[in-house]
């Protein structure tokens, strides 16, 4: 058959995949290995590939070296969750409007939303800094939440819109004919049907919100207690030396929440995110 491979071809494919995946996974593997080694062993040169003194000590000590570590992880999750909830409040009605309704400047306004994707926070940092200062939001959670929401709204609208477009129109038409108002139809007919899509988009927004915290945190927040993990991790870099093993352990513990969510939902997420790539 067409899909049958010879032995040699199979070996080639697996070998190439091994190289590809090594590149992708090497940093994680090395982070994990470093987290298992005692510090004095890490600082042994030349590099040793294997050692007999692996331990989980770093996973205990890291909470002592950086006492606020637990707080940083909480902050990361708290900021990402708040960003997700607020973003969805803005995204759901807008995505519905773009999927279903016809109104003046529909395409232009959608274009403006997507144009926002072109700018990262870095370009707008200066005035954003001043806006947040004027509003008195610097050095608060809001300083990291508000810009986060702004940069995720366009992606959220885009993803949810393509999902809503797939829900059959007939159901709404039927509700209209029965005399239901537009708001009622949106709340009682469309949203319940869109629950799977809402979950996928929320998780995508959450992952994005979890990932983008570093820049906003180092620029808009000087309060240590409010730092998210990606910024807090740098506290393992001391004046004298870097406790690499504990830093790696903390980094791995910090990505665990998103990795778990992702693993559970990866099938739906990938399908939802790449939907635009597949021809209808």
């Amino acid at each position: 058959m067409m899909d049958r491979y010879t032995k040699l071809q199979l070996v080639g494919i697996y070998a190439a995949l091994a190289v590809f995946l090594t590149f992708i996974l090497l940093p994680f593997f090395e982070m994990f290995m470093a987290s298992l080694r005692p510090l004095e062993h890490l600082f042994r040169s030349p590099y040793q590939f294997w050692s007999d003194d692996f331990s989980l000590q770093a996973y205990k000590d890291m909470w002592v070296t950086v006492p606020l570590l637990g707080r940083y992880i909480f902050n990361s999750i708290f900021i990402a969750t708040s960003v997700t909830v607020i973003t969805m409040v803005f995204v759901v009605p807008a995505a519905y409007a773009y999927a279903r309704l016809d109104f003046p400047f529909k395409n232009i306004s959608l274009g403006i939303f997507l144009g926002v994707n072109m700018f990262t926070g870095a370009v707008l940092l200066i005035p954003l800094y001043r806006v947040l200062r004027t509003m008195g939001l610097l050095n608060t959670y809001w300083a990291m939440i508000v810009p986060g929401v702004a940069f995720l709204i366009p992606t959220g609208i885009w993803l949810l819109r393509s999902y809503l477009e797939k829900i059959p129109r007939e159901l709404e038409e039927a509700a209209f004919v029965d005399g239901a108002s537009r708001m009622y139809t949106l709340r009682r007919v469309v949203l319940p049907l869109a629950v799977p899509g809402l979950i996928v988009v929320s998780v995508a927004v959450f992952i994005g919100a979890y990932a983008q915290q570093f820049l906003f945190a180092i620029t808009f927040n000087q309060t240590r207690e409010l730092q998210p993990l990606p910024a807090g991790l740098f506290e393992f870099i001391g004046y004298q030396s870097v406790t690499w093993n504990e830093m790696m352990a903390a980094a791995l513990v910090g990505v665990l929440p998103v990795m778990l969510i992702f693993l559970f939902l990866q099938k739906y997420l990938v399908a939802g995110l790449t939907a635009g790539a597949v021809k209808e």
């Binding site: 940093p27 939303f113 926002v116 005035p127 038409e173 820049l215 990938v270």
Partner: protein, 310 residues
Amino acid sequence: MAELSAQASQPAANTRKRAMSENLFGWMLVAPAMIFIAVIVAWPLAETIRLSFMDAGLGGEEFIGLENYQDLADSRKFHQTVIRTFYWMFLSVGIKLIMGLIGATLLNAAIPGRALFRVLVMPPWVIPVAIGCIGWLWLYNGYFGVLSGVMMKLGITDGPFEFLAYKSSAFYSAVVTDVWVGTPMVTLFFLAAMQGVSRDLYEAAWVDGAGRWYRFRRITIPQIMPVIVSMALLSAIFTFNSFEIIWILTEGGPRSATTTLIIDTYKVAIGNYKFGEGAARAVVIVVLLAVFSLIYLFFLNKINKRYGAK
């Protein structure tokens, strides 16, 4: 059927009234998001443009016309930064696309275990970039990192090699990390596009005796071309704007070897509180990105006409 009878019985006036309410309702739903974006993105953008004509810092503002732009136009260092940014972008995006094509082709092959391999590609896409970069910081460490260790074992270098300490090795190390961050997304989009290509095409070619390479070149590539073009430009925008990777690995050094426009802007504006000079740089970035998006639309239209329209 209900739809049909409802339409038939509706007088023209009623339809018009309904259209008006749809306009209003549409804007009612879009307005909150629009206003939020206006305050947090559009207004700061306008402020950036205004500030770029000012001598602005912590002390105050003074209108100086085009002086900030004139300084940039005269600065050899800035020209080098622009060229470096484009080199960084083209190199990194080029590698990402090639890696993405290879990766997607491998993951699309009908072999046992592919479901697992597809999941294993994704982690760099999911985790915060800043945390991935900390891993790379460790890999690039000369004394204790695995890369330098392997090179020493193989006899490529005599002693420890600090990847981030030399101008060109720091630059290419940053490119490798950027490729690592960007490749999973490109791969998965290409894979999704490849899965959307109709099997009939391949089977017809196969019956005619076309080999794998021929089918890849003459069927796969043309069929997924629209996705390749959009990913190329999307990655270009991401790479151009890439901040965290360079900032965490090198902060733009050594001796500006990894300073791209974004890093330069951040250093001038946030690091040195030269808001006016920083704003002028930000405007240059926005203009360059706007030109990009125009090219994007232009190419996308062309490609879609050639491949998409059936």
